[in-house]
Symmetry: C2
Subunit: 124 residues, 2 copies
DNA sequence: TAACAATATACCTATTGCGGAATATAGTTT
DNA sequence: AAACTATATTCCGCAATAGGTATATTGTTA
């Protein structure tokens, strides 16, 4: 019953917002910070939560760490992520996040370096 | 973000099994006990959990209490229940539950009395 | 009304999750 | 090497959850 693990990951607002953003493509943590506007430690811990449960994958990119949805996902995860996207399309929170992301990162860090604006001031 | 409440309900194995069974139609608690083969208190508490969060509705029917999915559900709940059914169709646990239910209750308690076998011996 | 049957609730305990503050780690730049 | 930047981890306290035991509630039947 892998479903339980999926739904445990799904039942936190911050994690849902992260998954929604990652559905667009890979993102480094600073992008997530910029969009979510939550404390760094909070985001980092939720990313760790998702990582240990296989919902996201991470790779280092110099100073940054780029998170993405895993390349291969189970059928169960795939359909549930699709369902989440379906719901997200109508939810103001998710839509606002997507809009912020588009403004903040017109170019996503597909394979190269992270083009993050320095967000030191927003770090706390 | 009603989604959170839905996923909180979804992230327990017993609750998922209950929702899967109720997707077939209304059921009284003794049917659920017969199929799930879990202690009465456990089932009752999970039903209460689902009830207080609006995922199921209950009506008294003489000595029995019949649970069902609510008549009107939000779009979010509807698509997520559909997604759950999609996943359940391939999961051995859910399939076995459905098979047990079909054997135990060929006639569902649609509107009338609950045709429960006396399951006193199974009560613990 | 007394016994019974079906279900719910109260109480307890252990576990888990969440958030914050402080600190650690690992790369990079000077 | 030292300072810096980005991110992770540790430690803490608190709230929520899960499961069990015992008991209560509500309706039915004798």
């Amino acid at each position: 019953m892998e479903l339980i693990r999926i739904y445990e990951c799904f039942c936190d607002r911050t994690r849902l917002r992260i998954l929604n953003l990652l559905s667009t493509g890979p993102l480094c943590v600073c992008h997530l910070q910029g969009v979510l506007a939550e404390p760094q430690v909070k985001i980092s811990k939720h990313l760790a939560y998702l990582r240990t449960r296989g919902l996201v994958a991470a790779r280092r990119e110099g100073n940054w760490i780029v998170y993405r949805l895993p390349a291969k996902v189970s059928r169960e995860l795939r359909v549930n992520l699709a369902c989440l996207q379906d719901c997200a399309a109508e939810d103001p929170v998710f839509r606002r996040d997507q809009a912020r992301l588009a403004r903040l990162a017109p170019v996503l860090p597909e394979a190269g370096a992270c083009a993050c604006p320095r967000i030191t001031s927003r770090r706390q």
